[in-house]
Assembly symmetry: C2
Homo-oligomer: 408 residues x 2
Amino acid sequence: MEWIENGSVTTPSCFQASGIACGLKRSGAADMAMIYSPRPCVVAGAFTSNLFAAAPVEYDREIVSSGNPVHLVVVNSGNANACTGEQGLRDAERMAELAGSMLMVHKSQVLVSSTGRIGVPMPMDIIEAGVEMCVKALSPEGGLDASKAIMTTDTVPKSVATALEVGGATIRLGGMTKGAGMIAPKLKLQPPQATMLCYVTTDACIERDALNACLAKAIGMSFNRITVDGDTSTNDTVLVLANGAAGNECIRLGTVECDRFGEALVEVLGDLARRMVLDGEGVTKFVEVNVRGAASDLDAKTCAESIANSALCKTAWFGADPNWGRILCAAGYCGISFDPYRVNLDYDGVPVVRGGMEAGTPEADLVEVLKKRCWKMDLDLGAGTGSYTVWTCDLTYDYVKINADYHT
Amino acid sequence: MEWIENGSVTTPSCFQASGIACGLKRSGAADMAMIYSPRPCVVAGAFTSNLFAAAPVEYDREIVSSGNPVHLVVVNSGNANACTGEQGLRDAERMAELAGSMLMVHKSQVLVSSTGRIGVPMPMDIIEAGVEMCVKALSPEGGLDASKAIMTTDTVPKSVATALEVGGATIRLGGMTKGAGMIAPKLKLQPPQATMLCYVTTDACIERDALNACLAKAIGMSFNRITVDGDTSTNDTVLVLANGAAGNECIRLGTVECDRFGEALVEVLGDLARRMVLDGEGVTKFVEVNVRGAASDLDAKTCAESIANSALCKTAWFGADPNWGRILCAAGYCGISFDPYRVNLDYDGVPVVRGGMEAGTPEADLVEVLKKRCWKMDLDLGAGTGSYTVWTCDLTYDYVKINADYHT
């Protein structure tokens, strides 16, 4: 597998994309994106598990579960179309219909996504003009523009592509993602929303059940392991579109080729997910929380998420404060069972805690680790073989600033 | 029931207290407190449910569950004596023994508490000198001094007293508490730690099982309903000492007198708990989250806690941003069931959401509510009769500052 420099959703064959500014954002920044494949695409999707799933999420779920091939994805930023009732559903459908009609594609073959403020009706006149601009701007080089147009509080666009040999042909995967706050996706395949959005294109030929299986695994290894603020959005969406233009022998479930494709998808989603955390709202530190030695994988997950979401741990990391007491405290209240006297903790391989007490490493050595932009902790609970990893970040002044000022 | 101005733990008869500075805090602020009753006291206690319960918590649990009467409580701030292993347990016991020996009280009749940094061995030479100073400073007017000496990041001491007629006599309750961060107590009676500490004295005569029952109920109506940052500490402790000096007919379980005493205890703990939130780290807003119409009380609790701990909700409150989408979002991902289209939300009685969508109240009217120092929301899920209330606060620059700089 080979990463492709400046790769994007238009790196795979026969995909076009665009990103334009139509006026949904007061700032005048790009706010609508489109991905188009003239060839029909097999699609797999995962969406938020939030009860207040946004209108476009409800709309997409139906399309994806129908099994119909799709040609088009339209995404707007600047408005989430969530908590907008029946009108919101009509607006999502209308957005799909408008875009489809300009490309001779039926609305049942068009997916839509929205991200932005919750509870504001969609300004359909602006949407309509935007869709027209987006269609006109479609280009085989439009992937990077699209990745910019889906940003909200992101500071950098996040785009990637890779190539590998599968089934006698070179296939490519391209991906883009956005999301900086309200990030703690709990995605469910077909039936799931954060406001993280992620789109993957591939020119591989792959059967639908194989694509679903690969996506389910890849989500579990990527977006469902990240948290910025512990808030699971109403709009989280991951879509994978496969148009088969690479000419490989079609990938079937349970084959070596399926495994290879799945591994590539894990890498692509993992890379995008890590970059999302690093570009999280106000983030200055990326922290990998590895918990092992738990009684079960589920216990390890509960513990890792408790640490990753603890306001006290996250502010300590911002301050490069090795305050391990807060980490043990978050493990101790998360509701799982273990013996406190058997707990060990390392920061980047440097011993911090042994047997539930300080390991004796000079504090200055720990501070050195915590000053790094990316570091990891290994927490061993000494209670079994369960393990889990979460990617998280610090909690900073800028997070507060961004979210206290969001509206004004 | 009557509140007593400038009341404290020494307002009830025959209690003495003191608060002094012995050098545990680098700042030179008061850091050790003592409450003493020459008469033996019936005691009830509730402690943290964190697995890493601090040494003094483990020590106190044994004393409280033994049922023996106690005479003395010694509290230090500046060091939590948590994650300190066997040595920590010996230090807690030694602290009790030192204090007891100076007052001719056996260590089994002495309770100890600690609050401060986790994982640092207790400096026993300082503790020893402090205990001696504290005993010498004991006075029937020492309650307010004691309430200052237990503070950590608190900005104001929190002390209260009340009087009521029970069983033919006037009885008094006095209380003090501390805690500003690591506040999300999940106290369990006898077997529970946040770093909130609370001490209540009363000159009532009350039987032990009656006192336990009253405390269990009062905790459920007060400290277990508050959250500042969602972090449940290793040291949370609530102790109630009853010395019987009022001369009332002894209060027994299941009597009207027990109900009256219980109501007074609910009021005292409720007042202290609300003041704790208002003095939480960096707090500028006190928010009462009322959830009703849930399928069960437990569902209502899950939902209220999800909102009260949401970083996005808390930062919006700081910014006086009526962003109700974040509240619905936090309700939507908390894992309970309800129909999004039946949800209503009010801020201080002003309609915000009706049927899952905006109620149409002008935004300026909502902003007016959110600018208040204290306000409440009523969220009706339309799914049943379950209800629950949580007292919480905003998340501010100062919270980040306090906790990123704590160590340095």
